[in-house]
Symmetry: C2
Subunit: 423 residues, 2 copies
């Protein structure tokens, strides 16, 4: 069965707002074995909405609407879906009573327009909205097609706000859909790799995953990382899981320690977990990334147990003030140098008392390095230092792209350097 998602709302036809519900709905539908073949975005215009609904009923088996269920004159999804189906709307007494009660409880008079939210397409099941006032609707029906035959259609009306749509779909709608579709048991896994070209991942893993035609494999290139998504659907959960585990075991063997996460954790989370397992602490000294590495680590709840903090040593003076880098090192080799990176990592480790000190210094651009030793160094040149009290290693990088990309990739390289050190 194929689905079409119709997002209703004029704001999604401006340069400022986008339909995002369809990403969530697509993931959920795929889990049920349903592909999304079309997505349509249409404004708050009855004729446009009826037209879009008719087209969707013609080309898809399941039509999901998001948005347009509110109480205002712009909320036209109920009317449009009913018109396209050639069915009537009837005002549901129970919904209406509930609405009057909610307004009364707040000592307010319900505006007459709100009663429209109680209009239900004949034959539809009402989907409770625990997080808002607009109920959803679910209709499993047959309609005559252009071929004169009757065709089964499932029509679903969901509210636009994601905080209302997601729980409603999950709790009320998904069980109804699942009951109408062949049973399916899914196993999913995600493997993540940092700083490796997509082409290399594909070249090495395709010969393996192509032997598992029954497993849906998706390679996604994200921010300085590659994700491999695997999905297996089988008559039983055990079969599905066994099949995915068999494939991922082979991929993990091939890609070995390039894989930083085999259950979806982020690189920051993995680094913090590894520090925790080894009872180690970390401190950062950042120049060109300006706090990005520390910010990524502290975005993870609980990071304070293993991440002590650090310094943003943007000016040369602060490299000395906070990490005891000898002024002569900066003067002789430049702030962007292997020597400075090394001194920063060692200095921040000693200053903070952390087990590991990591440093980043580089030229993020768009302007060139400062006058002096760095003047002729290229944009994208970055040094990362890692000190553990015994040895200090420095990695030289030549990164491509704009300021934002260079900074992000530098922070990713720093995390990956720590991870590989802790392996």
């Amino acid at each position: 069965m194929i689905a079409e998602i119709i997002a209703a709302g004029s704001e999604m036809l401006t340069p400022f707002r986008q339909d995002t519900n369809s990403l969530y709905l697509t993931a959920e539908l795929n889990d049920l074995g349903v592909s999304v073949a079309f997505k349509t975005i249409v404004g708050d215009n009855l004729a446009h909405l009826i037209g879009a609904a008719r087209i969707a009923l013609d080309r898809a088996d399941i039509v999901l609407f998001s948005g347009g269920l509110g109480p205002t004159e712009d909320d036209l999804t109920r009317e449009a879906a009913a018109a396209a189906l050639d069915l009537r709307l009837s005002r549901d007494a129970e919904i209406l009573t509930g609405m009057y009660k909610r307004f009364a409880a707040r000592r307010m008079v319900m505006p007459p327009n709100n009663a429209r939210q109680a209009d239900v397409i004949d034959g539809a099941i009402i989907l409770e909205n625990k997080n808002g006032s607009a109920p959803g609707q679910y209709l499993d029906t047959t309609i005559p097609g252009p071929d004169g035959q009757l065709h089964r259609k499932i029509v679903i009306l969901l509210p636009g706000p994601p905080k209302e749509l997601k729980p409603m779909f999950d709790e009320a709608c998904k069980p109804l859909l699942a009951a109408s579709l062949p049973p399916r048991h899914l196993a999913k896994r995600m493997l993540r790799m940092a700083l490796i070209p997509e082409s290399q991942v594909d070249a090495r893993t395709a010969p393996i995953y192509k032997e598992y035609a029954d497993i849906e494999t998706t390679i996604l290139a994200g921010s300085a990382e590659i994700q491999l998504h695997f999905l297996s659907a089988k008559p039983s959960l055990e079969e599905a899981e066994a099949r995915v585990n068999e494939l991922t075991a082979k991929i993990e063997l091939e890609m070995d320690d390039a894989i930083f996460s085999s259950h979806g954790e982020s690189l920051e989370e993995v680094v913090l977990l590894m520090l925790g397992m080894r009872h180690l602490t970390l401190a950062t000294a950042e120049s060109c990334t300006g706090g990005l590495l520390a910010e990524r680590l502290t975005a993870i709840a609980g990071s304070s147990r293993y991440f002590l903090g650090g310094a943003v040593v943007y000016s040369d003076a602060l490299k000395t003030i906070f990490a005891d880098v000898p002024p002569t090192t900066v003067a002789d080799f430049g702030p962007v140098s292997s020597e400075t990176a090394s001194a920063l990592a060692e200095g921040i480790r000693l200053r903070t008392g952390a087990s590991l000190g990591i440093s980043i210094t580089g030229i993020a651009g768009p302007g060139p390095g400062a006058p002096g030793p760095d003047a002729d160094k290229p944009v994208g040149l970055v040094y990362i230092g890692l000190a553990d009290g015994q040895i200090t290693q420095v990695k030289e990088l030549n990164l491509m792209g704009d300021r934002e990309r260079i900074r992000y990739w530098a922070s990713q390289h720093a995390l990956e350097l720590i991870r590989r050190h802790l392996l």
Copy 2:
């Protein structure tokens, strides 16, 4: 005239990828006076694409395709558009020669499939692609409608990658479209305000902007900020600009210093500009935001002139090591206290030699404050300190939301505190 944008590509029907070109195209079309009435996302399936193209030609005057112009078998937009228009594709000798030359220059043999990129819909103008191999196409034609009359249709084929689509639209396509449409002169302005509720902005500004019915006003609530967008279209640029300036002057008078930017600059940029104008420098001491404030400031190129750096004082010990906070202050009042925030701001200012020291300490959650004086303090409690060498002010905040939101709002409050101090 109304437009429909069709994004072609199966990846946009997965849970992982979204059409983003349509936001850019919508902004550009709106500037030309064209509204987007429908957006359709369709996979790499010829029948689906032809169907979607026919529907779009039926309900829109301008149909823009993005994607599906590559050389692979999945690239079907040329074929689908031609079929829906009932026109033929002809292989263009000039494009083909150019392609052979490009391959030859790289000493490669062109795969036969690539020749498909030279297929042009009869009557279409070729749009040069300076950033890729797939040329675009522009066709201004008439087709018979369901009413038997001839209808003018403009059909535009653009490549999917944003780095190819945007310059092609801007340089090759927009001039053609502009020449086909009534002349229009636009003036645009954006006013930005931080940390103010949308309802308050609307209540205060609506009585003003509603008197300018000829100006399109959009209120957008972003991350801890509100944006007011104004767009005026007039027969001459002078008229349009005069009209927008008249309205924005009134709004600026009403909202006064709540407006941090009247030409679209970000809050970080404004703070750095103001520091520069006053020849001042800044340093940060961050606990709960963990480097986010420094990261936002250093994301701006050239920030190193006014931002020296700072410390991420995540552990209590680092508050003393890097900012000389007396250990008794932390012990007596807790790391999340007005006293600690004040000492951090003063300490980081003195340590770094900056003109201004700003500090952030708070409970970002989801867990509670550390044992001791902070144990019973609520998630979302944040203190921001600002020291200028003469006085130190501390602001107490009770922020709502999850860890990410609390951290971002705290950094926004810190920037806004600096801005208002510098006013």
